[in-house]
Symmetry: C2
Subunit: 214 residues, 2 copies
């Protein structure tokens, strides 16, 4: 669709998806995602931009209950380490629900592929642009999930080396996300970390300046 023109009502629906997307940790246990729906979500991710068109992403779908439980154990281990690192807020952190790995309908691990050094276009000075590309792909998937009325949570509380070992990832590859996907118990009207008073989001005006950093 080279010259697709979007109308105001289409734009409104699009912005509603942007505004209604949440990081979901509360899923409906035992639910499933239809195969064609999952295929659309992955296609949305794969339609994401990538620096120099390098397509640095890989998606591992976890269907084996044992593998899922081992991944969950890795998250649980890092959750305790994070709590320890947070010092005086450690108890408060441990009371938060930070992941839905065991309850979500589908679990995907997203990783950066190996053999990325040969891709110089757009990343000679900033090699981490490959991670930026993977993140854009994940955001596409996240928004697509919301448009499908499904929840998604991006879990980054894990040791990358441990996840790499469980999934037999080659040297140079690295996991960047566990994506929990499925029917959500609800879509809160604000970020959960605000509702639970972990932190307060600041308004856009605090983040915009003109011609120089301010």
């Amino acid at each position: 669709m080279p010259q697709r023109h979007f109308t105001k009502s289409e734009r409104t629906a699009f912005y509603d998806v942007i505004g209604a997307r949440r990081d979901i940790r509360h899923f409906i246990p035992g639910a499933t995602i239809q195969p064609d729906t999952l295929a659309r979500l992955l296609a949305a991710a794969h339609a994401g931009p990538s620096v120099g068109l390098m397509q640095p992403w890989r998606f591992v779908r976890i269907t084996d209950g044992d593998v899922r439980r081992r991944l969950h154990a890795v998250v649980e281990e890092e959750r305790v380490r994070t709590a320890h690192a947070l010092g005086e807020r450690s108890d408060e952190f441990m009371r938060l629900k930070v992941e839905g790995v065991l309850d979500c309908a589908e679990l995907l691990v997203v990783g950066l592929c190996d053999d990325r050094e040969r891709h110089i276009f757009g990343r000679r000075t900033m090699p981490a642009m490959d991670l930026a590309s993977v993140a854009c792909a994940i955001e596409n998937l996240w928004l697509a999930a919301r448009a499908e009325n499904l929840g998604m949570g991006w879990v980054s509380i894990f040791s990358p080396a441990d996840v790499a070992a469980i999934l037999s990832m080659p040297p140079g590859a690295q996991p960047v996300a566990m994506l929990c996907l499925g029917p959500a118990q609800s879509f809160p009207d604000r970020p959960l970390l605000e509702i639970e008073q972990w932190t307060t989001a600041r308004p856009l005006d605090d983040f915009v300046s003109e011609n120089r950093w301010a």
Copy 2:
């Protein structure tokens, strides 16, 4: 809109935005973006997810022609260095149009803020999750631009230190993108790097496996 339910036709429009988004380098010179449109684009970015709700992004709008030309010179310098690093493909690279910094209606520099070390939630083992959050915000903006029938290009061909110096960024902050925005000459049906035979995109099936890396 806590429980906003999206219909099939809304979903179709949403997927059309995902599919019609392109990395645009050819803009209509002299065009402008209405202030309320630019405000919607920035709001879409600001609605993006961020690890631990840290909101690590900053947006610098470039309205001063002199600053824009200095930023363009930094891109041009890195373009030549990238060509040199590419060796036998250097001439081919130099023939590609890789940015529309001077011609686009609006130029934004997006950066990671300083003082990020204190944010441990979700990034104790993977500190670069802050970059992932900024990338998600940029993808929101990119899709929103397409929904507004505007083009966007993410330029990452620059020395971060040079851009930081031009914009007086504090230690610890770092630029990750120059975003070129505005009415596009066209929206190609495939990535420009494919059309110009720089590279060939691979199909999704090459990137998906089950339960283990493959």
